[in-house]
Amino acid sequence: MAPNQVDSQYYLLLAAALFCIGMFGVLVRRNALVVFMSIELMLNAANLTFLAAARDRMDSNGHLAALFVIAVAAAEAAIGLAIIIALFRNRGTVNVEDIRTMKY
């Protein structure tokens, strides 16, 4: 490993931190839009993990997986935003605590 390069475990620690922040956001924030952004954060944490692994293993499989995750995240963003807009038009709110009709 070249001396001026960052050690891989720091990438992994950063990814874990990002994931935890994202998960915290998903669990505690009430605004659906922010929850959504937190999910993106978690996906990118996963991306970072893949890339770190790819760097370690000196191959491109990780990059491939990350590209897939980005594509899925893009699709998810499109559909998710559409759902949130539709929700807002119907109910006038995007607060996830107010939307709990699917229960016992």
Partner: protein, 740 residues
Amino acid sequence: MDWTAVFTKSLANPQAMSASLWLIIGLPAFGALLCGVFGRLLGRTYVNLVACASVLASFILSLFAFQAVSVPDRSVVVTPASNGVAQLFAMSSDYGVWFSAGTFTARYGLWVDHLSATMLLVVTGVGFLIHLYSTAYMEHDEGYGRYFAYLNLFMAMMLTLVLADNLVLLFVGWEGVGLCSYLLIGFWYTDAANAWAGRKAFIANRVGDCAFILAMMLLVLTVTAYSKAPGNDPPAITFASRRILWTRAVSGDPGPLNFQVLEEFARYLPADIATGSKGILDVPIPNGPLAGRTYGHTLTAIFLLLLLGAAGKSAQLPLYVWLPDAMAGPTPVSALIHAATMVTAGVYMLCRMSPLLVMSPTAMATVAMVGAITALFAAVLAFAQNDLKKVLAYSTISQLGYMFLAVGVGVFWAAILHLVTHAFFKACLFLSAGSVMHGNDGELDIKKLGGLRKEMPWTTACFFIATLTITGLVPLSGFFSKDDILHGALGAKLAGYGWVGPTVYVLGSIAAVCTAFYMSRAYLLTFTGERSKDAKVPHAHESGWVMVAPLVILAAFSLLLIPHGWPDLVKIPIGPPETLMQMFLSTVFRLAEGMASKAHTLLPEAESSPWPGFGVALVLAWLGGGAAWVLYKRVFPARAGKPVPGFFAAVHSFTEHKFYVDEAYDVVYSFIKYLSIGLFRVVDEGLIDTVAVGGTAFVTSKVGSALRYIQTGDAQTYAAMMAVGLLCGVGYALFEALVK
């Protein structure tokens, strides 16, 4: 054209004929499909046409097949008669393997020899006449398509039974005719009694069929054990030694239940002085599940089981109870299925197996005794029946008893001859009864008929001729066929069962007196005297020619078959003169006779003239007929209005209630019924329904309704749950990693 060629050369090309044997079955089956599926579309006229034409075509093909195997066509005789066994004129056709498992194989093979050719003619001939009759009889019935579909299907199945060259394919036909019988007994199923009668027939037959299947399994085990034993030649079809064949490539293993294989197997059984073999009847079976039991004992078991199977199909004791109730079906069905053809299947099957049957004197004696007791028992039951069809039903059981008697004492040809004559005269009687019903608005109570002689002359004449035939008041065909049986019984000496022959002769002779009595009674009450005051319609009308013509043809056959049973008609090169039928069927049965004398199971009878016995039989018939005439024309009319004497009343009540057999069966049946009800309540309703099925549903629903409160609808709660799950997973992984 030289017409004498009919008696010397085969009219049809033998190869082509044997290749098209399947058409004999296929045409009625196709007719059944057309009538059943497109019956409504075709309409009554075309259904009648299809049904009758397919059976007629079958009949014509059967005629060609019969002619081909009957003529001594020297141009196709391959091997002259050798080693003292008669040549078998036969043709066969093989259509490949049906199924095979391990060493067991069953093939689609058809086989026509003199025995099956005779059966073919009877089945298709009587069948066609009854199809023709049915077109008139069912002209007011809406279910004509269904009716003719069933009837055609029955023909196909019966022909499969007759043509099959192995026991498995025979069993297909056996079950098929049982199914059609059930469908046709319950044809008017809207009346619950008819549906119940159908079920009764079906269930009584199941008991027999169960025994049949067991017998087949035992037979497979026995033959397989023999072929596998070291030093034995496996019994294969070795036609070359003795017979001509017009055969289509039987290549490969014919399977252990092929009739030819069974015949070959039978040849190994008895001791043979010529080859020096000691026979294997008393040798224990060396291997397989039957190891340790001798071949002879196994054969006895097999044939006792087969007898039970035959008793179910042919309505013998103890399984006869379904046949009288089977009269619930349309009358032509009673004539075709429950008199002429299907019920004789048991006799045919036992005759097919004759080379093996004669190896077991115990089984032979049982068959003879069952037949003789049934013949007498059913004849007595017929005394007090007032329903004309019921009288005929008991009469059928009784006559089938004679055929079993003949099989049991080893006069197989007489059994088949009686089968043939019975098919004609009993079909004639039943169709006449149908004609009486047709002309009297469905009335069948002989006490409420009477005097039909003037109003229905043709029906009366045919019924009269058939009555004479069955009773033997005048020596017509039925007289000779029955008394050939009794003559054979008197001369038969079964090894170890010497008493059987004379016993069955006495029982059969008493049954003959009873037959003359009840048939004369039925005829006198129905057709002579004055019309009853209780009659449904004031005047009966004669049926149309479509119904009368079959009657006349059938009655004519009662006369035409006289030479077949006339004793000592044919002089043969070796041995005493034979009857025509005996000579004709000797190609099939001489093997069994030869085997019996080799094995000393059936000792050769001392030759005696049959004529004295015939004289006795004639006197007995007149005794029975005379008694009926005195009672029903003199004694009872003279005492009209007065109470019946105690003795007659007691006899009448006892026989009218059929010796309380149905009631006795009910007791046995009730036991099984309540046992089943108990098992049903505890096991089915209690354990399976309540505990297993209901319990699962109960637990699931209770757990579900308790757990549903977890479902809050809050997505973040769910996410938290997942996070906790993830945490647990990660924690576990870390724990594993740290501990290791």
